[in-house]
Every structure is written in C-alpha cells, then in structure tokens.
C-alpha cells in the first residue's frame, strides 16, 4: 500500500488542459495540408500522381480531399517545388463531407454544433457506441486513448458505452466491410432517437487505403447518415476530441489560440 501511494505521487497528474490550452504536438506532425499553387510548374501532376488514394487533383487548380488523405508524406516528397506541405493545424473535423474538399486559399469549415433539438438532449451528456467495421486498429486505438488519464473524456460528459441501447450515437471506424454491414446496421437501429453518427478516419470517410476494393463499401456515409467527419490515418486523438467538442458546442468556430503548439 505505501508503494502504491508513492507510485501515485511519482506518476503525477497527467491530464492535458485541452481545450483551454493548445496541445503540444510533435514537430513532424502532419496536420492540415498547406497548398501554394503559385509554386506549381504548369502541367505538373507529381503530387496527384504520388497520392496513394487519389486525394489530390491538380488539373484546374490544386485541390485536396481530406476525407481521402492519409496524411502520408508522399505528395510533399514528390513535389519538387514545395507547393504542398503539412502544417501543424490539428483541428480538422467537419460537419459535411464536401467541406473536406479543400482548394488553395480556402479555409477549412470546421464542424458546427449539433442542431438545437439534438444539442438540448445530447449536449451535456453524450453516450457513444463504437463500431469497428474494417479498420486497422489504428483509429480504434486512438479513440480508445481518449479514455486514458491523458485526455480524460469523461470530464466532458462523453462516454463509450457497451450497448447501443444505452447510446446516443455511433462512432464508426473502418471502411465498412461487406462482412460488417449487417452488424453495423443492426447496431444503428438499436440506438434510440435522436441519434448521431461520427465517422473517424480516412477509411470511415472514404474507404481510405482500401477504397474501391470489392470487399468494402467506401465508408460510413454510404450506409448511414454521418454528422461528424474526422479525417486522418489515424486522426490524432486531439483531432478526434476537438471534433467531438465542436459537435457539443464546447469549442466554437472562432476559437482562440493561446500558443503556437510547438513541441
């Protein structure tokens, strides 16, 4: 028992003060892509050709679909001119699928608060059922860490529950395999109204690296109506948390920024 108390002292309090203070992210973190079309040589398609998920279109203006993007370094490495790079912006979740398609100079329209009636019911206590349906356990792992002392999801009134009957919504990861479709639909139908659906990760938004395989359905919005899209492969836990808090109206769109977020 004394050793337990000493360990408790040594391990300390480790919860990050998000969202009050900006998180510390690794210097090499790949957040929101930064496009600079003025650097593009005419007719160059190097970035689009290198992209494993066809997230980039270069003809008629540089454009990137964050819902397909794996946030891998291939495009930035392929570009001889530095027209694409990855910044530190980790706030990436949107309310609409189309908002994830970003052209040069456009600002990402981050997710907005739930509609009034849903917000009144779910805004202070949100119970989610998680369904993994063709993921790689990357998104699942980084959703799971929200339950650790580091992120302490419970302090926001958000909790993952064991039964869809106890849930207010679904958090889906994975490309939606043919083999999981039925289980996913049954889980959704077991959740009482009003209910929300959150798609986390490139797979759940677009199929990710498995897009157009005959075994998958290219994401959750081909099966269910989705209220929140959190891009990434996998998204950083803070990106997921930021999305959830926006949905609940805990972070507004004109959010403040108190430090640079450098490591």
């Amino acid at each position: 028992m004394p050793s337990l108390l000493l360990t408790r002292l040594r391990q300390g309090k480790r919860t990050v003060p998000f969202p009050e203070i900006e998180p510390v992210l690794p210097e090499r973190f790949r957040g929101l892509p930064i496009l600079d079309q003025t650097r593009c040589p005419s007719g160059c398609t190097s970035c689009a050709d290198a992209c494993p998920t066809d997230a980039i279109t270069s003809a008629g203006g540089l454009q990137i679909d964050l819902g397909r993007c794996l946030f891998c370094p291939e495009c930035a490495n392929a570009c001889p001119e530095g027209a694409i790079s990855f910044g530190q912006q980790y706030r990436l979740a949107t309310s609409n699928r189309n908002d994830l398609v970003l052209a040069e100079g456009e600002t990402l329209r981050l997710a907005s608060r739930l509609a009034e009636q849903s917000h009144r019911i779910l805004g202070r206590s949100l119970k989610l059922r998680q369904v993994s349906a063709g993921g790689c356990n990357g998104c699942e792992a980084d959703v799971n860490v929200l339950n650790t002392v580091v992120f302490d999801l419970g302090r926001f009134g958000i909790q993952f529950v064991a039964s869809p009957r106890h849930a207010d919504g679904l958090l889906i990861t994975g490309a939606i395999t043919q083999n999981m479709r039925l289980a996913l639909e049954k889980t959704y139908s077991a959740i009482p109204e009003p209910k929300i659906v959150i798609a986390v990760g490139a797979c759940a938004i677009s199929g990710g690296p498995f897009r157009d395989h005959p075994e998958v359905l290219n994401g959750a919005n081909n099966v269910l109506p989705v209220d929140l899209f959190v891009p990434g492969c996998p998204p950083h836990p803070i990106t997921i948390l930021d999305g959830l808090l926006r949905l609940l109206g805990r972070i507004e769109n004109c959010s403040r920024s108190r430090n640079s977020g450098q490591d």
Binding site: S3, L4, T7, R8, R10, Q11, P26, E27, R28, F29, R30, D49, A50, C51, P52, L70, F71, P73, N77, F86, R129, Q130, V131, S132, A133, G134, G135, C136, N137, G138, C139, E140, A141, D142, V143, N144, V145, N147, T148, V149, V150, F160, A162, P164, T177, Q178, N179, M180, A183, T187, P209, F210, H213, P214, E215, V216, C233, P234, H236, D263
Partner: protein, 501 residues
C-alpha cells in the same frame, strides 16, 4: 520417404526454377518430416497454376540451422489434408479451401475463416458466404448452454465472433469465427507493387505498421537487389522496438484493468502513449506511418532529436518500471494471473504458436534470434521466456521484453552509424520468390512475395502472428471459467484485421 530439400535463407531472392516441383505425396512427406524434426510451418498457401489448377506453396522454417525450405506442388480439387498429422496446418488448410476451393480431405474442422467469395478463376460466381453463418460446434445435455459474443463487442475493439459451449461457468469449448475485418488486402497486392502497396502494408494491421512495412520492404529490397544503409537499419530497429514497447505497455495496463486493478491500468495506458509519441517525434505519426520505405526510411534523426528521444525514453522507461512493479506486488492481481488460461509447452509446439504467447510456454522462438535481418544481425536481443504458460507468463514475458527493448534502444541511440537513410530501390526480379521474417510485437510476421515473368507480384502472402495464435486462445479457454475470458483474451491480444486481411 521425404525428398531432400534445398536450404535457403530468409531475405534471399530465390529463382522459382530452384524451387522443387513435388508430387503431393512428396510434398506432404517433406512437410511432415520437417515438422516432426522440429521445424515450423511458417506458411502454406495456394496460388493459381496452369489449367485452372492450384499450386500449393509451403515455407518450412528451421530455427536450429537458421534456414528455410520452400516446397511446391500442384493440386486440382483435393488432396489428403496435413492437419490430422500436423495441427500447425489447421488454419492454413482452411484458408486454402476458402480461397481456392481445394478440399483438404479429412480436415477435422473445415469451415470458412474469413467468409468471402473464392479467388479461383472460373469460380468467381460462387455466392459469397454470409459472415458468421457456419456450422458451429455445439454441445447438448443438462446444464449445458451456449454463449455467443460479437461481432460487435462491448469495448472499443475490432469485430469477431466468439461462441462458448459452457457447463455452468466452465467453458468446454470456444469457437472463434473471424472475417469481419476482411478488406481484400492480398488480392489488391496482386500485380503490384504500386503506389498503394506500402500503405496497405502500413494498414493491414495498423498497430503493427512498422512490423509489416519492414517485412514488405525487406522482401522488395531483396527482389530488387537494394542495399539499405546501416543508419536506416538502425532506425528501422528503433521503430520496431518502440512499437513493441508501446503495445506491451498497453497490454500490461489492459491486463491490470481486466483484473480490476486500476492504478497500473491508468498509468500504463498513459505511458503507452509516451512510447507512441516517441515514434511520432521520429516520423510525425504515432503509428510510424511514412517511416519505413523501400530502400530505407523516410525520416532521419539529427543529434538534437536523438538527445531529446533519449531523455524522453529514459523518463518513459522509468515510469513503466514504476507502474508495472505494482502488478507483481499486488496479490489480488497475481491470484488472477496465475494458473489462468494455461497452455502446456507441448500444446504450444503442436499448434505452432509464435511470439510472446509461445515464449510464455518456455519455447525459445524469436525471429530476432532465429532469422535475424537488418540491425538484429549485429545487435542481438536475448530471448525472453517463462515456463508456466498462463496469463502470468504472458504478462511476465512482456515485461522482460520491455526491459530488453529499452536496453536495445539505449544502445542504438547512443551509437547511430552515419550515412544516408534512403537508397533508390531497384525493380523486382522476375520469376523469383522471397520470404521475409520480422519479429513483430505479437510474434513472427512472415511475408512471401512471388513475382511473375514481368517482375510483378503473382502472389503476395502475408501471415500475421495472429494467424498462428487464435487457436491458442481457443485452447487456453478450455476448462476455464467463462469470466476468465477477458483476461485470457487480453493476454494474447491478437489482431482481427491482421488475421482477416
């Protein structure tokens, strides 16, 4: 009489013409005799042959001589199964039957493992089976009941179906039915490599991104005659051991949680993230995405970053030692760990288990020693093992491995060789085969790449350690209380997606 086989090394490109074409009788005899004398069946799979026949390929690995043998034969519709005489073949033969509609005659447990339409040309129109709809074993009798769990589980975990046959609280039999995560990875790799290939390697089992992408790169580098610099090999080794540290720490925390001991669960859950963040400091991704690339690695360390990593590593290792020590001191935890989910060494060897699960049964089996590649040819990590085969042993082996991976990282970060990190990868040789092994944190990862006449993949076979070990979990549950399942399950912590592909 088994034919004499040529011996090869892992990571060696082998011209297909040097792989003996055997009759099915010779093929079976060679496998059975090798396994009887202590070799393991690392791979057994099908691929299309001429006239719509199916070629079976086996990789038999002999850790005593660090050598592998490759065998092949052609079958049409059926052949006498190996499983009855060699239970290591059990899951492989079910896979062959499902993918290629070849019937292993006499197979005692012939059911789908992934529930998809067969790959055999000409049979594309066969209807896909429905996931989880199969002929489950059942028991009858008084006080006998069945418990079905999944595919959707209570926590944030991947989908799978578990069917328990119980007598009161006691589990007589557990049947595990998977395939819900099947994304068609192997079929998508055929005719590659392409621009998605490395990303499929990183995501076929996302908690083992480093392990699988390293196995792939070693295969493609062998086929392309690409030399990887010493510096890149060290960085790959560093990433592999960081992956092991993160996952082992997370597993020890989860085991504590399943035993109801929350302090260690809370601390380890946080420290796992510290190790993931070290990988992110190296390459920007907590799971090592973008790091391992054909020809080397995508990110380098400068001396400042090395110092920063060393400091953070020391802090995390100190914290994990502090947190894990609580487990061994808590009698309530030890009472749950000891004599729970015990596997004997004999069962382990019969089933061909790999990784910490095998080493927890006293089996000395570790790719880093048996078939070392990259930096592990020069920096040897001692094999960590324990004899008791129970949940305690599987936890204890992880703790030993955490300490040894920590020592390896200290050593490597202190003496990084100079040099470039990426060399350009050559095109793969045509009509060759290569086998690559990596000791992932769950155990032996085996990749087999076979190229066609144009140097494209005719077949790319992936064997995640979970493929060998799911049966181990099922057997470990026999005669256990059903309430011990979460603890047993977590002590193996197998991958669904790595199995389902």
């Amino acid at each position: 009489m088994a034919p004499a086989l040529s011996l090869f090394h892992s990571g060696q490109p082998i011209p297909l013409r040097n792989v003996p074409d055997l009759s099915i009788v010779e093929f079976r005899a060679a496998i059975l005799s090798a396994v009887r004398s202590g070799s393991s069946l690392a791979a057994l799979f099908g691929m299309p042959a001429q006239n719509q026949h199916v070629q079976l390929i086996a990789v038999v690995a002999d850790s005593a001589t660090n050598s592998i043998s490759i065998l092949r034969t052609v079958v049409e519709k059926s052949y006498p199964c190996l499983t009855l005489e060699c239970p290591q073949a059990h899951w492989f033969e079910r896979e062959i039957a499902e993918q290629w509609l070849v019937h292993p005659q006499g197979h005692p447990w012939l059911k789908p493992i992934r529930f998809h339409a067969p790959y055999r040309p000409g049979d594309r129109l066969s209807p896909a089976p429905k996931a989880g709809v199969t002929d489950f074993f059942a028991m009858a009798g008084e006080e006998v009941h069945e418990v079905a769990v999944g595919p959707v589980h209570a926590g944030i975990i991947e989908p799978g179906h578990f069917r328990f046959q119980c007598h009161g609280e006691e589990v007589f039999h557990l049947e595990i039915s998977l395939g819900y995560q099947h994304r068609g990875v192997e079929q998508a790799l055929v005719a590659g490599p392409g621009k998605r290939t490395i990303h499929l390697m990183e995501t076929l089992c996302g908690d083992t991104s480093i392990g699988h992408s390293t196995a792939y790169c070693e295969a493609i580098e062998a086929l392309g005659g690409t030399a990887v610099s010493a510096r890149a090999q060290v960085l790959r080794g560093v990433a592999l051991e960081l992956e092991r540290l993160a996952n082992h720490t997370g597993d020890l925390g989860a085991l504590a949680g399943d035993a109801g001991y929350l302090p260690a669960a809370a601390y380890c859950g946080r420290i796992r993230g510290d190790f993931l963040n070290l990988t992110a400091a190296l390459c920007g991704s907590r799971f090592g995405r973008g790091l391992i690339r054909p020809g080397g690695v995508g990110f380098d360390l400068d001396s400042q970053l090395v110092v920063k990593l060393q400091e953070r590593l020391e802090a995390a290792l100190k914290d994990v030692e502090d947190a894990v020590a609580l487990l061994w001191d808590a009698s309530s935890v030890q009472a749950r760990f000891e004599h729970t989910g015990t596997l004997t060494r004999e069962t382990c060897e019969t089933l061909g288990l790999v990784g910490p699960a095998a080493r927890a049964c006293g089996v000395e089996r570790d790719v880093r020693q048996d078939f070392p590649s990259g930096i592990f040819r020069f920096a040897q990590i001692p094999i960590s093992k324990w004899h008791s085969g129970d949940v305690f042993a599987r936890a204890w082996v992880r703790w030993l491995e955490i300490q040894r991976s920590g020592a390896f990282l200290r050593e490597q970060l202190a003496s990084m060789p100079e040099g470039s990190i990426l060399s350009s990868a050559g095109p793969p040789l045509p009509d060759h085969l290569v086998v690559s092994f990596v000791e992932g944190w769950r155990g032996e990862i085996c990749h087999v790449a076979i190229t066609d006449a144009h140097g494209r993949f005719a077949r790319y076979k992936i064997i995640d350690p979970s493929f060998h070990n799911w049966m181990g979990l099922a057997i470990a549950m026999r005669n256990q209380q059903i309430s011990d399942f979460p603890l047993c399950n977590k002590s193996f912590n197998l991958s669904y997606c790595g199995h389902d592909l």
